[in-house]
Symmetry: C2
Subunit: 453 residues, 2 copies
């Protein structure tokens, strides 16, 4: 019986046009990853739930897609546990696997599982879909691609420098002007120390992360609600209002944090990274943002966020350093730093700013019309000649009405139409029509490659 | 707490070396698809279970991976249904989505759902993973890629011709000698008619499909068990023993099936396709195999199967024509024909025959050793010069022991090592070592691109 077909909410089909645009983004990022010495890996879509659970916080656990055990998933399961009041406990009894939620945890699992073969420092990239049972909304999907590059097994700040240059290179190639915002978790720790609330690091960063959205006054209200003393809030204020050039702001915050060992170290790290990368010739704007916290539980050093300058949208890339990602899988002491590119937002930026190259639309260069069996077979030989020269070509498969065949060629923006009719068949020629200029010429079949090159 | 990390059985991690080999296969296939005028689409990993169920037979339904509904999946579910005796009925109550089982059903769903935008004939390709809850074994995985190309909306046999040439082109480029076996569902129907058992078409094809494995005698025994009369079995025997060249065998089977309208049509189709494609210059061996049935319920015309000539493994590609795939989604009368390439088996063939090009291993062309901060920063500038010329290059991030850095370069088979030490820093030079020949030369930094090209 016929069903009206649809796909699950939050998921998408990609048409040929969308695919060519998406591949343009993925190919650009992938080429830059290779150019910078990153190597591809892939991990399975399904991981053991035990690998995923507890890695993304309580909220993250809820957003994991769980895969029902195959076979009789109810065998041996106590029916008492299968009650609606108890569903979070019931799920792991009938599901051992989940869909990957990001690329970072599977990467950490990979490094530990394959530690015997992995050569450190390990520079890997990974471009694969991830799945989250988030409420679907504009720009937020339940299946989407992440493009991650990470180095593990090296403490050197030169990795941060290289990652910033890599971000720069990707957006240069895509033609997107960006600002790269930097912070350092050690600076945040220094700030917490300075205001006398080292145990309130998380509260402070959660609050000051909102400064761009809600302003200083509201941030201060929130800090008070979170238990910060009036003195602490007063001590914090100057830090949130630092101005000047990047170098000046680093000097100012360095002076403010002079008594905090960890804060001082954070400022020195930022200074080295920004000076070195500026010296290399960064095209992107570089900016210090002490309110930048991004997934704080994760990061231990540098924190990076990238915004498009000419298009209003959230961050289009981000990352940072994490010192103990593999510890949870039994391999402590492996430091890592990485960045992730948000393909869907980059797509929106390129589309909004009309930055997709025109050439990525058409794939077929020449289509031959089909004027009957003998003509079609002769056309196929011409098509083969073109393909042998690396030119994508095809024959309209049916001897349909001319109008229908031309409509097909037009709808696919194919630049050349080849015609072998009765006359051409007798002469050993082909008529080539340039679809843009409308010009037509009759040439020997043997000359066809040159005619459309 | 540390867990020993692992992945679900039947799934795989792919290392950089495996990725470069797999990408070589995918890239080759993708390029040929484009060359022949196929356009890419992608569909979501999860489909509604209603889209998937009932499309792959009873066995297929069992092999679908089902995704647990998010949130309280037990809310409103009658607890009585959640018993182990009843698990097949319970699953759809708690799972609305499933992982895609193949690329064909999602493609049919795509065509119907987007029929307003899709230009017919629609030539699409799709390279994506699929999931099956099969028992894992050597060469059989629970997650694996399919590479499909199909045309829908055209009855022309020229599509079959083009697909055969496309198969030929793919395996030529990969350097694999293959035999393409052909059959036609209409020939099978003619045979069933001839032996006076048109209702036994499925039984006949299931039995004769095994002739290569178990021989004529056992096939005849099975046919008798399946209710075929002795006369029918006797009438079938000559068909299974036809010999001679491809053209001779087509003539012989044509003569045998002369009285069956549908059988005759099948033979004529095979004759047109094989003659036309031979005329175009096929490199692969072309073979008629009336015992070839492949997923019969599906195919209505041409049936294609590809075997490697120099490596013992199952079929490495296959396909055929299906006349009513979209009917189940409410769009009848759309004929399609397509082929699928089995990437995992092709991988095994290329590895077994040592056909992977050597060049696909190394990605980075030059690595700079790290001899201290100033030297490293100078090296980064040289690295940037190389990258600007399109040459993948990197700097070892840490000032580690020379031996460790060289071991890294060796393990990644990087062909050139660049060294900027104290002396080079003073001179504005760089020492380049060719890792294969062991030769070293000192050159101005400005000449580096030419030195490693």
């Amino acid at each position: 019986m016929a069903q009206k077909p649809s796909i699950p909410k939050g998921t998408r089909d990609f048409s040929p046009v969308e695919m060519s645009r998406r591949n343009y983004i993925f190919d650009t990022i992938r080429r830059v990853f290779y150019l910078f010495g990153y190597q591809p890996i892939e991990t399975p879509s399904m991981e053991n739930l035990s690998t995923l659970m507890g890695k993304y916080g309580e909220e993250g656990d809820k957003l994991l897609f769980k895969v029902l055990n195959s076979g009789n998933f109810l065998q041996g399961v106590d029916p008492a546990i299968l009650s609606e009041d108890n569903y979070t406990k019931a799920a792991p009894k009938i599901c051992e696997k989940g869909l990957r939620y990001d690329l970072t945890v599977p990467f950490a699992r990979y490094v530990v599982q394959h530690r015997a073969e992995v050569q450190m420092p390990f520079k890997r990239f990974q471009i694969q879909p991830v799945w989250r049972a988030d409420r679907p909304q504009k720009g937020r999907y339940r299946e989407f691609y992440q493009c991650d590059a990470d180095v593990v097994g090296s403490d050197s700040l030169l990795n941060e420098v290289e990652l910033l240059r890599m971000i720069d290179e990707v957006f240069c190639r895509l033609g997107v002007r960006v600002a790269i915002k930097l912070n350092n978790r050690k600076v945040l720790a220094g700030i917490a120390e300075l205001v006398g609330a080292p145990d309130k690091l998380v509260d402070i960063t959660v609050a000051i992360d909102k400064i761009d959205k809600i302003g200083l006054e509201k941030v201060n209200e929130e800090l008070a609600e979170r238990g910060l003393s009036a003195e602490a809030i007063a001590a914090l204020a100057p830090i949130l209002q630092i101005d000047g050039t990047l170098a000046e702001r680093l000097d100012k915050i360095g002076a403010i944090l002079a008594d905090s060992e960890i804060g001082h170290k954070g400022v020195e790290e930022l200074r080295f990274v920004t000076e070195t990368v500026t010296n290399l010739g960064l095209k992107a704007e570089l900016d210090l943002d002490v309110s930048l916290a991004r997934g704080l539980n994760y990061y231990t050093g540098c924190i990076i966020e990238v915004k498009a300058l000419d298009f209003a949208i959230g961050s289009i890339s981000g990352g940072g350093r994490y010192d103990n990602l593999t510890g949870v899988f039994g391999l402590p002491g492996v430091s890592g730093v990485g960045v992730s590119f948000g393909a869907d937002r980059i797509y929106d930026v390129l589309l909004g700013l009309n930055l997709f190259p025109e050439s990525i639309g058409a794939s077929v260069q020449v289509i031959f019309l089909n004027l009957g069996e003998n003509e079609a077979v002769a056309s196929l030989k011409a098509v083969e000649t073109l393909r042998a020269a690396g030119i994508a070509a095809e024959l309209y498969p049916d001897a349909a009405k001319m109008k229908k065949q031309m409509a097909y060629a037009n709808s696919l923006s194919i630049p050349y139409v080849g015609i072998i009719g009765e006359q051409e068949l007798a002469d050993g020629t082909v008529t080539i029509k340039n679809m843009q200029s409308g010009e037509q010429q009759s040439i020997p079949v043997a000359d066809i490659v040159n005619a459309v090159k």
